[in-house]
C-alpha cells in the first residue's frame, strides 16, 4: 500500500454544501472517493491510499488537474484505490464533484 498526501490551492464555490459522501467502490481497477468538508476554503486536500506502487507523480498530475478544473476549495477527498487507471481516477473524481453539485 502506498499513501500520498496532497494539499493544493483551489478556489471555492460557496454554494456547495458538502455532506460527507462516498462515491465509487474499491474493486480491481476502480476506487472509492470520500468527500468531506476541509479546514481551509482556499485549499483542497487529497489523501490517497493505493495498491499500485510507484505512481506518485501520476497521482499528483491527475489530482492537480482535477483541482484546477473544479472549484474544490474547502473540500477534502479521501481515496482508496485498487489500481485504477488515471482516466478512471479522473472520471470518479468528476462524478463525485458533479454529485456534490447536484445534491
Amino acid at each position: 500500500m502506498e499513501t500520498l498526501h496532497l494539499d493544493l490551492p483551489a478556489i471555492q464555490d460557496a454554494s456547495l454544501n458538502p455532506r460527507a459522501a462516498l462515491y465509487g467502490v474499491v474493486s480491481s481497477g476502480n476506487l472509492e472517493v470520500l468527500v468531506e468538508r476541509g479546514h481551509d476554503a482556499t485549499r483542497c486536500v487529497f489523501e490517497v491510499q493505493t495498491a499500485a506502487h510507484g505512481f506518485v507523480e501520476v497521482w499528483k498530475a491527475v489530482l492537480t488537474d482535477f483541482a484546477a478544473r473544479h472549484p474544490v476549495g474547502g473540500l477534502s477527498f479521501a481515496i482508496h484505490d485498487a489500481g485504477a487507471t488515471p482516466a478512471v481516477v479522473s472520471l470518479r473524481l468528476d462524478q463525485a464533484f458533479q454529485s456534490l453539485r447536484g445534491a
Binding site: 500500500m1 462516498l22 467502490v25 474499491v26 474493486s27 470520500l34 493505493t50
Partner: protein, 303 residues
C-alpha cells in the same frame, strides 16, 4: 426514485439503498466518514473500504420503518470480514430493540472473507444468532438477492434462515459456488463456465421452484422494493403469502428433515432445473416466462 426501471444487478449497494427506500429517508450507522475499516486487510496491505463493504441503517419503506443491511458485492465479492460482520450483527440486534416493521437484508456475497479467516467465520455465526433473535422478537427478515455475487457460502446459509427471500432470475443461492465445485470435483461434475447450467442449478427460477425462495421479481430495484413493501403490509399482496421458516419446533424441524430426505431420493436423473421443469409440465418455456407468469404458474401447480 421509483420511476424508470433500474437494474438491481448493475447498481452499487449505495444506489440500491437509495432506490429501495422512500426518498431521503435512509440514515446510515457507522457511516463511511467514521472510517471503521478492516484491520485484517490493512495488515495484509490489501485495499480497504470506508464502509468495509456493507451499508447498515434505518429508513422508510412505503412509510414503514425498516432496518436495512446492504452488502457491496464489488468490494472483495461482498465477503464477510470482522467489521463487515459486526455491522450486520449490530444492525440485527438494533432491530430487536427498535422493533421496525422488518429487516431488509440485501445479500450480495460469496461468503466469508478468506483474508480474515476465523474472524469471518465467527462473524457469520454471530449473524445467524442475531438473525434468530430478530425472528424471536417477531420481526420478519426479508432477504433480497439479485446482485452479481448472489448468496453463497455462509451468506447462502444466512439467506435460507430468513423469513422471506425475494430473488430475481439473475440472483443465485448456493453453498459452494460453481468454481469451487469445479476445482474440487472436476469439470465433469460442474462446468462453472457453462452460465446457463450454473443458473439452472443456482439461479432465481430454480430456487423459487424448489421452495427455497419465496418470490421471483424482475431485475429492477423498484420491483424488489414493491415486493418488500407487500411483505411489510404496505402494499396489497399480489401472490400468496409464503414463509421459508415456520416457527421452529420439533414438529417443524422433523417435517423439514423429511422433506430433505424425500428430495435426496429424487430421481438421480434430475441434475438440472430443466429436467425438473419438464417433469412438472412446464416444458422448455421456463426461460421465456416473465417473473409474473412464472410465479403464477408455480402458484397454480402448488395449490
Amino acid at each position: 426514485m421509483r420511476g424508470l426501471a433500474q437494474s438491481y444487478r448493475e447498481a452499487l449497494a449505495r444506489l440500491r439503498v437509495q432506490a429501495l427506500l422512500d426518498p431521503d429517508s435512509f440514515s446510515e450507522w457507522v457511516d463511511p466518514a467514521q472510517r471503521v475499516t478492516s484491520p485484517h486487510l490493512a495488515a495484509l496491505e490489501a485495499p480497504v473500504s470506508f464502509d468495509d463493504g456493507v451499508i447498515v441503517g434505518q429508513g422508510l419503506l412505503y412509510a414503514h420503518p425498516v432496518i436495512l443491511i446492504a452488502q457491496e458485492g464489488q468490494f472483495n465479492g461482498g465477503a464477510v470480514g470482522e467489521v463487515h460482520g459486526a455491522k450486520i450483527r449490530g444492525a440485527l440486534l438494533r432491530a430487536v430493540r427498535d422493533k421496525p416493521s422488518a429487516v431488509l437484508l440485501c445479500i450480495d456475497s460469496g461468503g466469508v472473507r478468506l483474508h480474515e479467516a476465523n474472524a469471518g467465520l465467527i462473524a457469520i455465526s454471530e449473524i445467524m444468532r442475531a438473525l434468530f433473535a430478530v425472528q424471536e422478537a417477531g420481526i420478519p427478515v426479508i432477504a433480497l438477492i439479485g446482485g452479481t455475487c448472489g448468496a453463497f457460502g455462509g451468506m447462502g446459509i444466512v439467506a435460507r434462515l430468513c423469513d422471506v427471500i425475494i430473488i430475481s432470475e439473475e440472483g443465485r443461492i448456493g453453498l459452494s459456488g460453481p468454481e469451487v465445485i469445479e476445482t474440487v470435483k472436476g469439470v465433469e461434475e460442474f462446468d462453472s463456465r457453462d452460465r446457463a447450467l450454473v443458473w439452472r442449478i443456482t439461479g432465481g427460477k430454480i430456487r423459487r421452484t424448489l421452495g427455497e425462495a419465496t418470490l421471483l421479481v424482475d431485475d429492477d430495484i423498484a420491483a424488489f422494493s414493491a415486493a418488500a413493501g407487500e411483505e411489510v403490509g404496505a402494499r396489497p399482496r399480489f401472490f400468496k403469502k409464503r414463509r421459508l421458516t415456520p416457527a421452529i419446533s420439533l414438529q417443524t424441524l422433523q417435517a423439514a428433515q423429511q422433506q430433505l430426505s424425500a428430495r435426496a431420493e429424487l430421481d438421480a436423473e434430475i441434475r438440472d432445473g430443466q429436467v425438473l421443469w419438464s417433469r412438472m409440465g412446464l416444458g422448455d418455456q421456463v426461460s421465456l416466462m416473465s417473473p409474473e407468469q412464472f410465479n403464477r404458474r408455480l402458484e397454480a401447480l402448488e395449490s
